[in-house]
Structures are given as C-alpha cells and as structure tokens.
C-alpha cells in the first residue's frame, strides 16, 4: 500500500490476520474485566500509541486496577478530551481503564439537598434530565455550551471535572455552587469541595490511584436566579471566557448570596469574591450593575493566548458580569409581576 508516496508495509498482512464475518449468532457477553492477550504481528499504522485496555464491570475492579497501575494508567470516561490527546500522541498511557461498563457510576439521584451525578453520566443525559432542569438548572445551562451534541453524547459529568480543562463549563458551575466531589481509592473514600478540587489547568487533587466517583450539586429553588454565559470563537466551541452566575434574593429583593465563577480566564475556575461581597445586601439597580461591571474583571489575573489577550479577557468578564446582572434584574422584575 502506498500512502503519500511512501510505502506503508505490514498493512495487508495485518488485514489478513483480522477476522470479520456476518453472522446471525447472538452477541456474546464478554467475560468480566476483559484483558486481551497478545496476538501476532505489527499493527502499524495507527494513531494512538499502544496501551493495555481494561473494561472493569465494577468500581471495586477499577480501584484494584488503579492500585496496581497507578501513574501508568489513565481512566477513560467519555474520551472526548483524552482520546484526541491519545490520537495526537500528546498522551501515551500504558494502561487505559475504560469506565463504560461500570453501571455503578451511571446514576442520577436527588439526595434531598442536592443532585448527585455518577461520574459516567453522559453530559447530554445530565443536561436533559428532568431532575437537572427542575432542581439544578445551572448544570443544564452550562452543559448546553459543552460542545456539540455528538460530543455531549459521549462526554461525561465526571470526565470534564477530572480533566479540568481551563475553558470547560461544568467546573465553573461546581465552583460557583461549591459542589461536593466523592473521590475513592482502594484504601478509602474522601469528600472534597469544588474550591479545593481544582488546582490549575488540567490539574485536580485526584491522586494517581484514585477515582472520581460522583459529584453532588446543591439543589436550587425558584428564589434563586441562575445563568451561564460564555463567549467563544464559535458556538459550542471553546470558551474564551464564561461565567456561572447564581444569585439568591431575599423577600425584599436585595441580593443575599451571590456567586460568580469564571472559566477560561485563569488556569482554574475562579470565584469573583470581591464582586460578590460588594453586591451582598444591595438591590439590583442600573447604577449598581454599572458599578459591578467596573469591578467585574478587576480581581482576575487573566491568561493571554492566541485567541485573546489578558486585557480582552478582563473586559469580556466585565461584560459577562453586566449581562448576567441585567438578566437577573429582568428575572427579578418578572418574578414580582
């Protein structure tokens, strides 16, 4: 076979080794925790570097594998960030532990005070779930920006949190709401708050032998305004800046518990705490909103890259703050009618 003028050898011998047939037999269930033994010849060319593949059926099996392989292993959730990195060989894990068959990680539950998502809930399912839209609408709103449908059909709630890309939407929601993450290993379970979870770009507090099992977002009621806004190069593309806004009002209409978390601007999602404390106890008016806009990007240390300068990101954040507050004001007026 000739590709681009160069002979690519061992391709045809590879194909002749493979077996493919059309049959009416029913699909056999593979054995638990399938690990395939090694076959004959070279499989070049392929995009990903070689790895050993495991598909455990339970969390216990996952934790055992992590205890055994630790830093040499990567956990594969939806693969929408990891597999592109593997294809580009920017990631070359020796071992891939696929969570696709771990049904324990695929539950959404209302716990009373919050909504608990198993790590393997697909983003499109989480976004559209009735329980999310009714009790945690900010999660729905943020996930609507988390890539095209074909990505959200695979990408998972746990995957985007554990991957911790600086421009990902859900980490911002987790920080704004101070969600609780459950991390498990062979030696035990620990709970971590979102503000302690994210450590930087693609860095979290998960250790090599640990697994992110679930995340619980506090439920919000109808007295709470929620909104997610972002600006990116294209719709559903990567965010240059995004904001998760959550504002509680008391009966008199003054701001009680404002939360703003910004994504895509610093290496990890960041709360706008100076702005939040400025807004507490105030009623939203155009003058207050104008003041908030001025304060909006000031407390940040934005990154500069090919898509935007630091000052652009700061101004963009200020605009997002203003728009979120304007929408909150409209929402509040609508609620009073």
């Amino acid at each position: 076979m000739v590709i681009g003028g160069k002979a690519v050898c061992s391709f045809s011998s590879f194909w002749s080794e493979l077996y493919c047939e059309t049959t009416d037999r029913s699909v056999e269930e593979p054995a638990t925790s399938t690990r395939m033994t090694l076959g004959g010849k070279s499989c070049e060319p392929m995009k990903p570097a070689p790895f050993s593949y495991f598909s455990p059926r339970s969390i216990g099996e996952v934790l055992e594998l992590l205890a055994q392989y630790g830093p040499d292993a990567r956990v594969l959730a939806g693969g929408q960030s990891l597999v592109p990195l593997i294809n580009l060989r920017m990631a070359r894990p020796d071992v891939l532990i696929d969570l696709s068959h771990c049904d324990d990680l695929k539950k959404i539950e209302h716990t009373g005070s919050g909504i608990r998502y198993g790590a393997m809930i697909r983003q499109y399912d989480a976004q559209l779930a009735k329980v999310t839209r009714e009790h945690c609408p900010l999660v729905s709103m943020a996930l609507a920006h988390a890539g095209p449908v074909a990505v959200r059909n695979r990408a998972t709630v746990g995957g985007t949190l554990a991957h911790a890309d600086r421009s990902a939407e859900l980490p911002g929601v987790a920080v704004a709401m101070n969600a609780t993450l459950v991390i498990e290993s062979h030696s035990g379970t620990r709970e971590v708050r979102a503000d302690q979870f994210f450590r930087g770009d693609m860095t979290t507090c998960i250790e090599a032998h640990e697994l992110l099992r679930s995340v619980t977002f506090p439920a919000t009621d109808h007295s709470c305004f929620c909104h997610f806004l972002e600006v990116g190069l294209r719709q559903e593309g990567v965010a240059i800046a995004g904001i998760a806004a959550l504002i509680r009002f008391d009966d008199g209409g003054t701001v009680k518990d404002p939360r703003f978390a910004v994504v895509g601007v610093e290496a990890a999602p960041v709360r706008l705490k100076a702005l939040e404390s400025e807004l507490v106890g105030r009623a939203l008016t155009p003058a207050i909103i104008a003041g908030a806009r001025n304060l909006g990007g000031q407390e940040l240390d934005p990154a500069a890259d090919a898509h935007a300068s630091a000052s652009y990101r700061r101004r963009l954040t200020a605009s997002l703050v203003e728009e979120a507050l304007e929408r909150a004001l409209q929402w509040r007026r609508h609620e009073l009618q």
Partner: protein
Amino acid sequence: MNSNETMRIALTVNGQRVTAEVPARYLLADFVRHQLRLTGTHVGCAHGACGACTVLLDGRPVRSCTIFAVQVDGSELQTVEGLCREDGMSPLQEQFRTNHALQCGYCTPGMLISATALLSEIPDPSEEQIRRYMAGNLCRCTGYQPIVLAIRAAADMINGRSEARERSS
C-alpha cells in the same frame, strides 16, 4: 506494552451482525473504514474537531474518531451506508442533492448522520435549532446555507408525507 493486544467484539452494523477481532488501540472510525470497508464514513481531523466521522451509536450521534472499536462491543452502529432505503435515498439525502448542500462531499456523511439524529429528536426544527444542532459538523465549501435549507426541506418532506398517510388512512 505490546501493540498487538486484540479483543473480540460483536455488534450490529446497519442491521447486520458483525463479529471481529480488533486491536485495543484501533479507533472506531478506522475499524469502520478499513476493516468493515464502509468507506462512506470520512475521517477529517482525527481528534474530534470536525464531525466528518460522525456515526450513530445506539441511535445517538457520536464521533467515531474519539471512540475505540473495543468500546462498541454489543452496540448498534449505523453509518451513512445505512441511511439508504430500499426504494432509494432517504428524504435527507434527496434534499441534500436537490438543494446542492454539498460541493466536495467530504463532510456530507457526517452532516447526513447528524441531521438524521436531529430530525429524529426534533422532527420540525427551526433554523436556529438546525444551526445549533449541526454546529459540530464543519463544512468548508457550502457556507452552510444550503445545508440548513436541505434539512428544513427534508423535515417538510417527512412531515408532509406522514400527514398524507394520516389523511389516506
């Protein structure tokens, strides 16, 4: 680690049962194209950016370059080859032709698959809904206008037909 680790998978592809022996690091896109020889599915970027390789996995659109073939064991897969009907092209395919919704055709299989999923999820989509749903499929020829028109026309065609059937019954 040895590169030759293989695994046996069984799945349904366009309604036919298929079993195969695949290396663990084999992408679904490459499995479909090279092993099943279903070359209608195109690979554009191979890292989940362009949407050309979109297929339906258990009825849902996914990008076959970001999934390993070993992961689809037991699943139902539909590729662009599976969209044709016995009596010819599907309404979407027909409307893509009528509306000139392709030029080079490289993105078309992914477009058709995504649009099929769109119309099964939202049978009567607005232009805004079409543009939003199709945002993951890049086209560098058409400027998208004819693609949106074709999907809208296909929706009318499908809905018109079903109304006609209802009237006659």
